[in-house]
Symmetry: C2
């Protein structure tokens, strides 16, 4: 399987601390050694780093860890391959443009190969994973339903939720999806989140000997939500997302929620 | 204006040497301090690095310079902004998916603002540059003419050449375009290329005190073509591409050529 990590914040925030924990699981404290990737939104644009090497000893992961890129929305993924060989084209997150926005997607899980028979119209996969195929199908459904951007986001989120339910019927579908403004999360088996806000405290990573005191890193009104397959810290309470639950974060807060 | 750099090779080759020269021009020996980007193809996939900071003091540019990523096709760009503010969404190269391939584009020049009235159908710009708009328009024309990938590339290259002529009628249009397999170049004012093959020799960068002896870096059958706005070395003969000339490289060799 793989691990996902995401962030939604109301101020541009770096994710160096959380990424330092996650990257250990890419061949160090975890078996996810088949590549990793991360996409940072800065305004409407997304800056991505991809590497088919294990994150634990990737010079690019070291850079991401030590070079604070400030972002309000981040999606990251470390891969343990099941479908599709280990190479760059199968390395999450995947991106496509819709309505002049770069949509970014990462998936954890495995889908029945029947997914590859679902017809695609606008978007085609570059690689061979079930994940990228599912992303293309999902974005097709959004584009078919909304050739132009909808005035309100709720019908859009309802549609994406319905599509996620259909994908989950094919297997395990935990995913993160972002359009630069909001971060959509969907859970089949495992996904956790935590919102940090004032009063801030100290957090201790699970996967390496690293502690941060957020009191020295934040302003009073900052709201920062981190989403991860498994909690990244061992001294804080992370909320599990339930099976069949869709939760959308914007500016660090939940803005849409559906459970089955 | 901006500067372009590209590479087409018949074996995966790193571009560290050429990039070391180019990055100096991003705020060091040249005025192109408004961001830079580079896209490396590895198989069908493209790995991009973007930074709205000047390349000469960008930690990401330092990484690209010292971490040899082997690729057969590369597109890079350093920016001196004219249309569109300095931010990530206006940082070249731009990418879009067509037929399951990631197409990457970088432009040097400036187009009449009338470009923004040209209708777009499938692809929409994320940022505000004339360059990204022109890329979306160009890819639209390709997709309209070829909803499915053509069996032969010649009609495709003819179409792209015709589109480039139309864009050149709006101003200055020097560009690089790549689909992972071939590298399309088009010149209005300034673009040079050099092909290195056996017997290899020594090259000396213009922009910094760096020399490479390609005899120690290459195999006998290697063919590596580098394209750049201005020659990057001062002891080799670079070929100018002429105004209105389209030249497509594949595996380091010219595979299509049209002049007006």
């Amino acid at each position: 399987m793989c691990e996902l990590m995401g962030m939604s914040a109301n101020v541009p925030t770096d994710i160096c601390f959380s990424f330092a924990g996650l990257m250990q699981r890419g061949g160090g404290t975890g078996p996810h050694k088949d590549g990793w990737g991360i996409g940072f939104y800065e305004g409407k644009a997304q800056r991505a780093f991809h590497d088919p090497q294990p994150s634990v000893d990737s010079p690019i992961a070291q850079l991401v860890c030590h070079y604070p890129i400030k972002s309000k929305n981040v999606i990251s993924h470390i891969r343990q391959a099941n479908v599709g060989s280990v190479n760059l084209e199968n390395t999450h997150p995947f991106s496509r443009e819709l309505w002049g926005f770069t949509w970014t997607f990462a998936h954890n899980g495995q889908l029945d190969p029947v997914i590859f028979d679902w017809p695609l119209r606008f978007y085609k996969p570059v690689g061979t994973t079930d994940s990228e195929y599912a992303f293309c199908w999902l974005l097709d459904q959004v584009r078919l339903a909304f050739p132009e951007p909808p005035q309100k986001t709720e019908p859009l989120f309802e549609l994406i939720t319905q599509c996620c339910h259909k994908l989950r019927a094919l297997g395990v579908f935990n995913m993160l999806l972002c359009d630069s403004d909001w971060l959509f999360t969907y859970c089949t088996t495992k996904l956790h989140w935590i919102t940090r806000r004032a009063p801030f405290g100290v957090a201790q990573l699970k996967d390496c000997d690293l502690t941060v005191d957020f009191r020295g890193e934040t302003q009073e009104n900052d709201i920062v939500t981190v989403i991860a397959t498994e909690p990244l810290t061992d001294n804080e309470v992370w909320q599990p997302i339930q099976t069949g639950e869709a939760r959308v974060f914007k500016e660090g807060e939940t803005c849409f929620y559906r459970s089955e």
